[in-house]
């Protein structure tokens, strides 16, 4: 009996690292570093449970995609990771998010410091109504990184594959850029302060296919220096860009509706040989 229980526990536990190292050939060894260890994360707005009991680990220099149907708590989940939900009055969080072992919601943790290390790019491009240059330079200035600011801005714009398009008009308003350019500017803005992690909340959902593919290409390049987590409702996008994919779904029971993590695995495995029926239904288009 005890042995059976043990087995059961092992099955429901978060993905175990040794197994994955063995399974994954193309991943470099250092890619196994755990950046986030999320344990029993439950997020509520008032009495409404948005995400329930999520356990997963996110690894360094990988692109981790979060997919799932509308309302399954994908955005809530990703916003928990850099404490962007703090300002929502009724928001409550249980469980732990360990970032390199430190609890993001622990005592004395400053959300400002958290967000400085864990950047975020939003669904709709939201450049500030300033010049292109000032959009990128604003955060470094605020954080006191004023040395060689021009180089920093150029580096960030180059990393975001935007430099060649804007180098002659850095003093023009950022609002004069196209939607795709604006989104890449927002990425440049986020990486100008050299965060370790970049969270992308449906970064391409407001963009046309060409702009979308340039963002996806960009993500591949950024992987070298950053750990990326992307929320997307577009399964093809997850399949194209992500190394690992987490599938969230909506669970309805007596206590109400809540988003839950159904399956988390290598992207190729999750899409071709999912171990959960619900995942299979979703990725084959039978629901959602």
């Amino acid at each position: 009996m005890t042995e059976e229980e043990d087995v059961h526990q092992t099955v429901t536990m978060p993905p175990m690292r040794p197994v994955e190292v063995a399974e994954r050939q193309e991943a470099e060894p250092q890619a196994r570093d755990t950046v986030f260890d999320i344990q029993g994360l439950t997020a509520r707005y008032g009495t409404n449970v948005a995400v329930r009991d999520v356990n997963l680990e996110i690894y360094r220099n990988l692109i981790t995609a979060v997919i799932g149907p509308s309302g399954c708590g994908k955005s809530t989940f990703i916003r928990c990771i850099n404490r962007m939900n703090d300002d929502v009055p009724s928001f409550r969080l249980d469980g732990r998010i360990l970032y390199h072992g430190a609890d993001l919601y622990g005592d004395g943790v400053d959300p400002v410091e958290v967000r400085r290390r864990i950047g975020m790019v939003f669904q709709k491009p939201n450049p500030f109504p300033k010049t292109i240059y000032d959009n990128v330079a604003w955060a470094p200035r605020v954080l006191g990184l004023k040395k060689e600011l021009d180089d920093r801005v150029e580096k960030a714009l180059r990393s975001a594959a935007l430099w060649d398009e804007v180098k002659d008009r850095l003093k023009r308003s950022a609002l004069s850029l196209s939607g795709g350019q604006q989104q890449r500017l927002c990425i440049a803005r986020a990486i100008a302060i050299e965060p370790e992690v970049l969270l992308l909340d449906e970064p391409a959902s407001a963009l046309d296919p060409i702009a979308t593919s340039s963002i996806e290409e960009l993500m591949h390049d950024l992987k070298r220096d950053y750990t990326l987590v992307i929320v997307t409702h577009n399964m093809q996008q997850a399949a194209r860009v992500a190394d690992r994919t987490a599938f969230f779904s909506l669970e309805v029971d007596d206590s109400g509706r809540a988003g839950v993590l159904v399956e988390y695995d290598e992207t190729s495995k999750l899409f071709t040989a999912p171990s959960e029926k619900r995942t299979e239904d979703y990725v084959t288009g039978r629901f959602g």
């Binding site: 962007m84 400002v112 975020m120 450049p127 500030f128 609002l175 986020a190 302060i193």
Partner: protein, 294 residues
């Protein structure tokens, strides 16, 4: 006839026609009420222009006040005095009002916001004569009259207006801008100072200009604080400052018909200032609003 009755008719029966008449009637009454408001403003502008325009001249705008019973004279001291009073009032009310609005919109929890909002709104409804007496009792009684006390009174009038106008524009700043700044590791106040206030600047300034237009015409707060003054241009706000609204009041109480004419002309100057600044401010506000919501 019988055939015509059986054919489809869209003219409607008696009840439908009655509804149409009632509809027209209500529409007409509402239109007349709206036109009456326009006519009232037109009437005020026209009557003041008619009585005041004749005495308006360059000399009237640039000369000192006439000594009692003398002909001629001008209102230069009034214009300068009013400008100083409103200037000091703005210097007090603008920063305080913007800070209150930032607190209410960006920092306060809803539970704290509601009562403070109520206080600001009640302040807006405070009778200006009450402000005048308050300022008199607090700052003037036992001292000589002085312009500073009058400016404080005007600042009390302007404060809720500026606060309200600033809140309105802060509400228009998209929350995506806030989130974008916060996600870059900027603290709350940095976000406010660096991103939100610059976006809202146009709206704040136009709200301020509207408050200036309102304060320029306020008489009651000045009546006890700065109403006994010299006839020449005064620059020192520690003394009583000549000002347009009070002087209009004094001249219109005078038995001398020449003073009545001066009162009309001064009223015209004041009214033109208020109308023009309000219109310009409103036009600018519409523009900045469009820019924000784009």
């Amino acid at each position: 006839m019988a055939a015509a009755e059986r054919a489809l008719t869209l003219r409607g029966n008696a009840r439908v026609r009655r509804r149409r008449i009632v509809n027209r009637l209500v529409e007409g009454v509402a239109t007349i009420a709206a036109l009456a408001a326009v006519a009232m403003l037109g009437l005020v502008v026209w009557s003041i222009a008619k009585r005041g325009a004749g005495d308006l001249s360059w000399g009237f705008l640039t000369k000192s006040l006439p000594l009692f019973g003398e002909p001629g004279g001008g209102i230069a001291p009034l214009i300068v005095g009013s400008a100083i009073l409103v200037g000091i009032a703005t210097a007090i009310a603008l920063p305080v009002g913007v800070c209150i609005a930032v607190f209410l919109q960006e920092f306060a929890s809803p539970r704290v916001r509601a009562p403070i909002q109520l206080v600001i709104d009640l302040m807006n409804g405070l009778p200006s004569i009450v402000i005048g007496i308050f300022v008199f009792g607090l700052l003037v009684y036992g001292h000589p009259q002085n312009g500073l006390a009058g400016a404080y009174g005007l600042a009390i009038v302007m404060l809720p207006l500026i606060t309200r106008a600033t809140q309105e524009v802060l509400r228009l700043v998209p929350s995506a801008q806030r989130e974008g700044a916060l996600a870059l590791g900027a603290s709350r106040w940095r976000t406010v100072v660096g991103i939100i206030l610059p976006s809202a600047l146009g709206g704040i300034l136009t709200g301020t200009v509207l408050a200036v237009a309102r304060a320029a015409g306020e008489t009651a707060p000045l009546l006890f604080a700065t109403s006994i003054y010299a006839t020449t241009v005064q620059w020192d706000p520690r003394h009583a400052l000549p000002n347009i609204p009070t002087q209009i009041f004094i001249w219109s109480e005078s038995p001398d018909p020449a003073d009545h004419k001066r009162a009309w002309a001064s009223a015209l100057v004041l009214m033109l200032f208020v109308l023009v600044t309000s219109l310009v401010a409103r036009a600018a506000f519409v523009r900045s609003r469009r820019k924000l919501s784009r």
